[in-house]
Symmetry: C2
């Protein structure tokens, strides 16, 4: 299956936004992500609804953060994207009648659930400011948002 790259894509976009003070248009971001402006809007829509970013129309419009980077976790982003499916592997039947299949689903499902919990915990404790620091944009990001927030 094709992988769902919305999480990585949106993080990439947000980090480019963090490098700038001014709003970035969907076309700007589409260039950064090597994709289409419509795809950018589609992906960012969830973040806007979640109050993570804001969009403005017309001249001087575009995308800006609605909160300081230190107050946005990867888990916030993940949820704002509609909680994309984490695992590609899964049961053949959700509610099987066969007790054997029920047993298999329970054992494998528990393992997947635990792994997912680990992942979510990691996402929860990682902030956008950490990500920005990772490539040396920490200072810029702080100047751009923490002061105003």
């Amino acid at each position: 299956m094709k992988k769902n790259s919305r999480l990585s894509a949106v993080l990439h976009a947000l980090m480019h936004m963090a490098e700038r003070d001014a709003p970035m248009t969907s076309d700007d971001l589409a260039l950064c992500l090597d994709t289409n402006a419509v795809v950018v809007r589609r992906t960012m829509a969830g973040l806007r609804d979640a109050g993570i970013v804001q969009s403005g129309r017309g001249h001087g419009g575009g995308w800006v953060f609605a909160r300081p980077l230190a107050e946005i976790s990867l888990l916030d982003i993940y949820h704002a994207l509609g909680e994309p499916i984490v695992f590609q592997i899964g049961p053949a039947t959700e509610s099987p009648g066969c007790v054997v299949e029920q047993s298999v689903n329970r054992v494998v499902g528990d393992a997947l659930k635990d792994a997912e919990a680990i992942l979510m915990a990691r996402f929860a404790q990682t902030r956008l400011s950490d990500l920005a620091a990772d490539f040396g944009a920490a200072a810029k990001a702080r100047r751009a948002l923490t002061d105003t927030g």
Copy 2:
């Protein structure tokens, strides 16, 4: 996209095999799994190549275990299936030129890698005999294979 259910499907099939002493044909298993015999053969092929099961043709043929259930881990099965992709979420670009994207990929990739390691560890420590015990087929399974192994 559709989920990859081969792991669950093959475990379901193996547990039905564990309930019986006699070989089960692909048609038998296809009935259990509510699918097609060709799909069963296709999926089981990896397990046969890995020496986990054996297939026999002609009258009285079908699928049997090649090792005791206690000596087969879920990780063995997972590898035998060609290590299906675990995560549906992933990076947009594998080897990006953009340093920002590299940073994002590293952070998200590390989190995914850790979660995958947790999952693999769980798979490694879970044997088919554990699975069989989970639905009360432990006695049967032991009678069928541990004695002969």
